[in-house]
Symmetry: C2
Subunit: 344 residues, 2 copies
């Protein structure tokens, strides 16, 4: 099955895949001999291709009509044949400029990251923004709004901030809320949002010792937890992907778009690859059957050593792996800087 393949076979395999990635059409021996400098005749190439097919690296659509790489073929290509294609300095400058021009608020960083990736790779990009569940509760503060409302500001360790207006129970004063903030902060500071449980709540209840006020604090804590659970997914390139010949059929487009709208499905895919650095999953290697014709490249990014989120490129198996991989690698390492720049 997996016999070693000699250097010439590798050269031919690489040529087939390069050509197929470029032209999206089954490639035959004649074209190969003409376009690539392989030094052998089409007939020889035919023999070698037949061998490569036998070994599972290439596939035949119909009896006649050129060959197409299989998942195994792409895998071999990705693991050993592709030349590194680093992001050029000009591209880096462009990317930096783009961030500067477009990003004003922290959440826009993720949207624009998705945008950049899809623009460069002409494929769909996915960016999973930081999951606050793993962030630590830092503090909660109140600001007076008027006689019966206060603004609640929640802050986590990683520096993310959320706010919400809440009503004060009748009879309560802003001072009561200040006191409540102290109680909550003392009890919850340093805990990750997903480890705040009932026993903490009951302590808070005891310390607050006022039913309506406790109700308010519950509302606030639940809101904080909800916020923590909701990591956000940003998509990019759903228009660019139409440039790929794979999507010449509207049904295919619809199917793909509908799949992309299923946030939970997509998140699960991204979770599956979380924390493993740069990872490429090709066609058949995908567990979900919807993705048997797609490849996914994922990369995780960090901040101060803490895992923050995932960025990914999703496209047809016929994808410019070299380009996408080095771009993701760069975006990945760059994202930390960008977040710091715009948020601190």
């Amino acid at each position: 099955m997996s016999e070693p393949i000699d250097e010439r076979k590798q050269r031919i395999l690489k040529a087939v895949i390069d050509d197929y990635i470029e032209n999206a059409e089954p490639v035959g021996s004649r074209t190969l001999a003409r376009k690539y400098d392989l030094g052998v005749s089409p007939a020889t190439i035919r023999n070698e291709m037949a061998d490569l097919e036998m070994l599972g690296y290439l596939e035949h659509l119909h009896t006649s009509s050129g060959r197409v790489p299989s998942s195994k073929g792409y895998r071999f290509y990705v693991d050993g044949l592709i030349p590194p294609k680093p992001v050029s300095e000009e591209e880096k400058v462009l990317i930096d400029r783009w961030y500067n021009a477009k990003v004003r608020r922290i959440d826009e960083v993720f949207q624009e990251t998705a945008h950049i990736i899809s623009q460069v790779t002409k494929n769909v990009s996915l960016v999973l923004a930081p999951q606050l569940t793993q962030a630590k509760f830092r503090c909660l503060q109140f600001l007076p709004l008027d006689d019966y409302r206060v603004i609640t500001v929640l802050m986590t360790d990683a520096g993310f901030i959320e706010n919400k207006i809440i009503k004060m129970p009748s009879g309560a004063t802003f001072d009561d809320f200040q006191r409540m903030a102290r109680v909550i902060n003392d009890n919850l500071a340093g805990h990750t949002l997903d480890t705040i449980h009932h026993h903490a709540l009951s302590e808070i209840r005891d310390e607050i010792a006022d039913e309506p006020l406790y109700e308010s604090s519950l509302e606030i804590i639940h809101w904080a937890l909800d916020n923590g659970k909701k990591e956000r997914l940003y998509l990019g390139g759903t228009t660019q992907m139409l440039d790929q010949p794979e999507f010449h059929d509207v049904e295919k487009v619809k199917e793909t778009l509908m799949m992309l709208e299923e946030e939970e499905l997509i998140k699960d895919i991204l979770y599956a690859h979380m924390g493993d650095g740069l990872e490429v999953t090709i066609g058949q290697e995908n567990k979900d059957k919807h993705f048997k014709d797609s490849s996914i490249i994922t990369a995780t990014y960090h901040l101060d050593g803490e895992l923050l989120g995932t960025i990914a490129v999703l496209g047809p198996t016929r994808m410019e792996y070299a380009k996408a991989m080095s771009l993701l690698e760069y975006m990945n390492s760059n994202l930390t800087n960008v977040i710091k720049r715009f948020h601190w």
Copy 2:
């Protein structure tokens, strides 16, 4: 040109448009006679249709093959022929439940509004979220974060809140920032964000009388203004629209999606109809040539008497006007409640 058309012609015109809206195919006299109870023979219908074409209400694609409504035909239909199709009570309940299930933060209201509209109408929906430029500056407050950073919280009249972390100049203390907040609030409170000009800034400069601190306040005010300028556009239904036979061609899909990505273009369209209540613009009536085959229905929503934003449906001229119009009307009046419910 615009001679009055008698009752029978109107009945026939309505039947043609109803049928075309339903089936997306040119409608002929025979089909019309069979499906609709018009009480006359196909031949008579043919004569009437020929008249309606002469008057500009119908169009012929090819010499033979049924008729299709013109923009003028749709206009007449929308202005006088469509039966009102109010949102049913069940639908209202569903919509309410949907909001409750999905919306946690204020900005999600707009996203979900777009989502609901597109789900119901099977067309693209556009929601222009409140423009803060017209909102009044209410107040600015600071919260201490650590020794060298503070959280800035900006609040506008309509209750929208934004926050940002900023660095303190070396040597400055949190008390300095508190003082700065007072100065800024005294000078700017009650002004709309787009009327904050240089003379206000120079007064602030005089009162603060400390260069690094003034720099910080400038940074904050500019951030506030930037926030005000950036009204946000939410899109929905870019997948649903593929169900319409108008989009059986991928090129058409791509063209439309690319147009929708041009935020400025779309915003301009929405601005053009701002403040006019419910408005329908049909095909040729659109000034922008990209929209000559599309119809746009817009509605503006208000909060406490103040104009807030616009919601719209964008689709092929062959659109279920009755349904879309009553839905927009309802969403429109309902949006105020929803915003209040989730934000106050």
